[in-house]
Symmetry: C3
C-alpha cells in the first residue's frame, strides 16, 4: 500500500482534532505579544501617524530611474511621438509619491519626538519639487559616471550595457537622488533608499557622503562609503572597498554623531578591491593608487602607490 | 524608407514559416530533458510530496517582522484601537503558514529518505506553536541588538531608522527566528530563511550559530558566521568578517559534519571589516579587538589587540 | 486637543491651495527633462525598437531553474503522472520568452549601431533552440557542482538543501546558462542575467568566463570572476575571492577590450576567502592552495601553498 495513503488513514482524524487543540492556544500568544508592546524595553510603533512605506520607496526609485534614463526602463515603449506625454505623466506621478513619502518621514519624526509643527505636508511638496528640479543636473552627473565606467572597464561592451546591467551605476544613481533629499534634511527616507540599493547591489553608500563627478564603482559588492566621506572627481573604487570610521568606542554613537569621521579622497585616486581607509583626518592625495586589501588609517600624500607585502610561498 | 518597415516586409512571411520550423523541434527537446530525469547522476524532484515554498518562506519572514516590530512594517496602520485585532490576525496567519512549511520540510525529508512516520502534520503544529511562544523573548533580545547598534553607530539618527533600514538588524532578526526553528530540528526551512536574508543583505548567518544579546553587525555585506560559531554578549562585527572553518579537505563533508568547526568569540569583542577568524578550537578572548583584514587561525587571549602590518608606501 | 486634529484644522485649506501652487510647476520641470533628452552628453533611449526587459529576464531564469532542476521550484507539483505535460509546457514557454529576448537584444544593437540586417527574429529562434538543446548537458555539469559542494561542505545537510537554498549553486546555474548565450554572441542578455544573479547572491561571474566541472563557490558574497578568467575542474573558492584584471589605466576600456586580462586557475585549486588573484598571465598551478586575504599578481607553481604573514598581537 502506498505510504502516503497509509499515513493519511492513520492521521487524518487525529490531525483535525490536534489542529484545534493547537489553534485554541493562539489568542493567549497574541495577548502575550500585545502585552510586550507596552514593555518600554521593546520596540513598537503603535501610533496614529502613517509611516514611510518601503513599497513606495521602491516605486519612487523605479520612477526616478525611468526619468533619469528615459526609455531604458520604461514599462511601455517610449519614442519621440509619446515622449512628452510619458515624461509628463512620470514626473507627475513621481511628485505625488515623493511628496507623500517626504511628508510621512517628516511627520513621523515630528510626532515621534513631539516636535513643534513642521509643516510636513507643505514641506513634502516643496522638497519634492526641489528634488525634481535637480533632475537635469543629476542626469548630467550620472552621464559622466557612465562615461568614466566605460572608459575604464574593458569588460563593458557599450554604454547601454552599463545602464541596463551595472550595479555600480544603479547604486550611484540612488545615492545621488538620496543625497539631494539628505541635503533638504529629510529624515528616514534617504537612508531607506540607499539601504534598498545596498540590498540589491551590496554597495552601501550613506546618503550624507559627498561624491564628485566621473565616479566609478566596479563590481561593487561589499563597498562601504561612510556618512562624512568626501570623494573628489574621477575616482575609481573596486569591490570590498571601505571608506570608514576609525576604531569606534562602544558609546561612540552620541559622542561622534555629526563629526567628520570618514576619509577624504582627492581627485583621480584609484582604490583596488578590499582596501580599507579609515578616519576623518585621513586624506588620500590626488592621483594616488591604493593597492588591494591594504588597511590605511593615516594620510597618504599625492602621487603615491600603497601596497601590501608580497605573500609567503610554501611548497607542499 | 524606414529600416524597420523594410525589414518587416522582407521577413514577415519567412519568420512565420521559420518559427514553426523551430517550434516543431521542441517536443524532442522536452523528451530529452525528461529522459535525463531518470539519469541518476542528475537531480530531479519528481515526487508526490509537496516541497517547501520559497514564496511562503518570504511571507513568513514578512509576517514575523510585523509581529516582532509591531506597527513598523504593517500593510495597514496599527494604532491602539486595532492593535488587538491586527495582532490576533497576524499570529493566526503566521501559525498557519509556519505549521504548513514546517510540516512540508519534515515530510520532505521523511519521504525522501524513507524515514519511519515523523508525524509531520502534528509536529508542524507543535513546533509552530513553540516558535510563536518564543516571540516575546525574541523581541527582547532584538531590542538589545537595536540599542547596541544605536549606541555604537554615530551614523544612526534614531532607533526607528535602524529598524526601518538597517540590514544588520534584518539579518539578525531572521537568524534569531531561524535559530529557534533549528533548535526544534526542523530540516530545510531554517536554512532557506537565512539564505533569503543572505540574498537581501549579503550577511550569511547559519541558523545553527549561537549568538548572545546586544549583537551588532554594521554594514554587513560579506559577513559569514558558520554553523558551529559561538558568539558572546555585546559583540560587534563589521562588513566582510568571516567566522569560518579551517582548511577543509575536499572530502570534509562527511568527516566533519556535526563537529565544532567555527570559532568562539567571547563577550565585548570587536572585529573590524574583512577580518577572518577560523577553526573550531580558536577562541577570541573577551574584550579583544581584531583589526581589519587580519587572518587568524589560533586563539587570542582576552584584552588583546591584533593588527596587520603597516602597508608599504611607494612614491610614483 | 489632539495635536493632529489641531494641525488639520490649520492646514487643510492652506494645503489644498499650496498643492496646486506646486503641481502647476510640474509641466515646466517635465519640459526641462525632455529638453535634456536631446543633450548629447546625457543618455536617453527614445527609439522605436523594443528593449530587453528585466522582468522577462527574471522569468527566463525562473523557468530555466524549473527545467534544470525539475520539481524543485515548480509552482505546481510535478510527479510522474504530469511530468511530460509540465515539462513540455515549460520548454515551450521558455522557448518563446528566450527567443523574444534574444531577438530584442540583437535588434537593439542592430538599430543602435545601425548594423546591416542581423536577421534578429530568425537568430532569436535559432539561438533559443540551441540553448534549450544544451539543457541536458548543463544539467549534468550542475549535478557535478552540487556533488562537489556536498562533498566539501560539512554544513550542508543534503543535496536537496543545496539546491533549495545555496546561493553559489544559483549563481553558477545562471552563469552556465548565460555562458551558453554568450557563446552564441548574444549581446546584453547574458550580462543582464549574471548581474541579476549578482544582485541576489553577491556573486559576480562574467558570462564570458570559462569554468570547468565540479565548481564550488561557498557563501560567495563578494566573489568576482572576470570575463577572460579560465577555471579548471574541481576548483573551490570562498566568499570575497576576486579573479580580476591587473592595474588598469584609466583609458583601459578600449586598449584592453577582448584581451585576456584575468587569471587561469588550474584543476583542484582551493582559494580561501578574500584572496585576490590578478592578471591575464597569472596561472595558479594545479592543486595549489591560496590562503585567505592574499593578493597575488604573478603565477604560482602547482602544489604550492600561499599565505599572508601572521598578524601582530598587541596586549592592551
Amino acid at each position: 500500500m502506498h505510504k502516503q495513503a497509509n499515513k493519511d488513514e492513520e492521521n487524518c482524524r487525529i490531525e483535525a482534532g490536534s489542529l484545534s487543540r493547537y489553534r485554541e492556544k493562539l489568542p493567549r500568544i497574541a495577548e502575550k505579544i500585545i502585552g510586550s508592546c507596552s514593555d518600554k524595553e521593546c520596540y513598537t510603533h503603535i501610533d496614529y501617524e502613517p509611516i514611510p512605506s518601503k513599497e513606495s520607496v521602491i516605486e519612487i526609485i523605479d520612477r526616478f530611474r525611468e526619468v533619469l534614463f528615459p526609455g531604458y526602463f520604461s514599462r511601455t515603449r517610449i519614442d519621440p511621438s509619446n515622449l512628452t506625454y510619458s515624461m509628463g505623466q512620470a514626473v507627475s506621478l513621481l511628485f505625488d509619491l515623493l511628496s507623500d513619502q517626504i511628508c510621512r518621514s517628516i511627520r513621523h519624526d515630528c510626532f515621534r519626538y513631539d516636535l513643534p509643527c513642521t509643516d510636513c505636508a507643505d514641506q513634502g511638496n516643496q522638497i519634492a519639487l526641489g528634488v525634481l528640479e535637480s533632475i537635469p543636473e543629476i542626469r548630467k552627473v550620472l552621464a559622466t559616471d557612465i562615461r568614466a565606467t566605460y572608459d575604464g572597464d574593458p569588460a563593458s561592451k557599450s554604454h547601454d550595457e552599463i545602464i541596463f546591467s551595472y550595479p555600480g551605476i544603479f547604486a550611484v544613481m540612488v545615492y545621488r537622488v538620496a543625497h539631494t533629499l539628505f541635503g533638504f534634511n529629510v529624515p528616514l527616507l534617504p537612508r531607506i533608499m540607499t539601504e534598498y540599493a545596498h540590498g540589491l547591489t551590496g554597495i552601501d553608500i550613506h546618503p550624507g557622503a559627498r561624491i564628485g563627478e566621473r565616479f566609478v564603482i566596479d563590481h561593487g559588492t561589499g563597498v562601504v562609503i561612510g556618512e562624512t566621506a568626501q570623494i573628489g572627481e574621477n575616482v575609481r573604487i573596486y569591490q570590498g572597498v571601505t571608506l570608514g570610521a576609525l576604531s569606534i568606542p562602544k558609546d561612540a554613537g552620541n559622542q561622534l554623531r555629526g563629526k567628520k569621521r570618514h576619509p577624504t579622497i582627492e581627485d583621480e585616486v584609484i582604490i583596488y578591491s578590499g582596501a580599507t581607509i579609515l578616519g576623518g583626518d585621513t586624506v588620500i592625495g590626488a592621483r594616488s593608487v591604493i593597492g588591494g586589501n591594504v588597511w590605511i588609517t593615516r594620510s597618504v600624500p599625492p602621487d603615491t602607490r600603497v601596497m601590501t607585502e608580497e605573500p609567503r610561498l610554501v611548497y607542499k
